[in-house]
Amino acid sequence: MKPAPFEYLAPTTLDEALAALATYGEEAKVLAGGQSLVPLMNFRLARPRVLIDINRLAELAYIHQEQDGLRFGALTRQAEAEASPLVRAASPLLAQALRFVGHAAIRSRGTIGGSIAHADPAAELPLLLVALDGYVRARRVGGERTIAAQEFFVDYLTTALAPTELLTEVCLPASSLWDGASFLELARRHGDYALVASVVLLRLAADGTCAEARIALAGVGPTPLRIPAAEAVLVGTGLDAARQEAAAQLAAEAIDPPSDIHGSADYRRRLARTLVQRGLAAAVRMATTGKTATGGER
């Protein structure tokens, strides 16, 4: 399984990288961690004529704490983020979710930006970006723009990035700002892509009712999905069991999951329902008792 031939560029500055992208556009692919791209190239499912290796752009590897979240340079290794005390403090949900991203050797090379740009709808980091309503920064020759999570993921493995644009930064609001937060994933084996994964976030009002709710799912559509209908049914309520049940049911009805060798559409729908149910219960428990939710299911 050897890849098709390609030209290899290894720019040492961001400007060089952007210039290369401007020149080659559609013919080029950006090589960051390579943990998703190189398998595709080895299977010859991806055959870029030019590979732009951005791993020398040290300026793109950083984790900065902001008031309401974290800013990751796109080239931040997943392993670095996993080990970062900043991440553990500001975004325990991210720290939890990272343990499900492949295995240690994958996380050594895989990057925060790379996972977001690859946009696999069953991946953990895109799910978190959507759930936490984050955004990315993208640069090209002559410009920079911010793209909100909701606009960024367009379709299966497809983002709003233009071929000449490079993802440079991922901004993730802190999960620690929520009263209740849970991340649950069901995968066939540890480290596999999720069959279905869920994030539930709850903010309580002073009177203990639900002020804000976010329910997001991975693996149930061409992109990670927020479920506004399910969220709406919780807001302003006491988050009783019947409400939670209704939200889970609405989430199951709102999605049109894919069918593949690992799970049919119907099964994924039922898993989504179960994960939202359990994710809500965990988030409510955390919000009311202060005890953190456990991470994954198996």
């Binding site: 399984m1 943990q35 492949g102």
Partner: protein
């Protein structure tokens, strides 16, 4: 054929130079160009872990890295574990605990575990198994590998002065 690139890197403490086509993987470069065939290729898509080496101290899939990407890097392969004919404690433990049968997945496992025990001086069986989950073995059923790791951690803890080996 695309242009060849010059690379220089250090493998197992020794400097090497080469000229490679960009599409040659680090695994193939180590094996075919440098003759270090201890690193094995099992799947070429990053799942089986047989090709795992240490790159600048971190475990990586050498089948998912192009050799050109290792320019200036320090690589450690299984051939670099034993020192002056003395086996690394992990290798010794693997032998004592029958943690290998056909041996094909073994180098990748050893390199994964070298990093793991360095970073996790205390680990439960569940944590050890999670650390192993990125390396496929079709012969051993993993149990003896877990025992070998447990033994190495316990021995290191004893040497470090009685830090209790945690089992949760």
């Amino acid at each position: 054929m695309s242009a060849l690139h010059d690379i220089a890197l250090v493998v197992n403490g020794q400097s090497y130079q080469g000229r490679v086509e960009p599409r040659v993987s680090l695994a193939d470069f180590l094996r075919d160009t440098l003759g270090l065939t201890g690193t094995h290729v099992g799947c070429e898509h990053g799942v089986c872990g047989a090709c795992t080496v240490l790159l600048d101290g971190r475990p990586v899939r050498s089948c998912l890295l192009f050799a050109v990407q290792a320019q200036g890097a320090e690589v450690l392969t299984v051939e670099g574990l034993a020192q002056n004919g003395t086996l690394h404690p992990l290798q010794e433990a693997f032998r004592r605990h029958h943690a290998l049968q056909c041996g094909f997945c073994t180098p990748g496992l050893l390199m994964t575990l070298v990093a793991f025990i360095r970073d996790h001086p205390v680990a439960s069986d569940a944590e050890i198994r999670e650390a192993l989950a990125g390396n496929l073995c079709r012969c051993t059923g993993y149990q003896n590998i877990v025992e070998a790791v447990r033994a190495v951690l316990a021995a290191a803890a004893d040497q470090a002065g009685g830090m209790p080996h945690g089992q949760r």
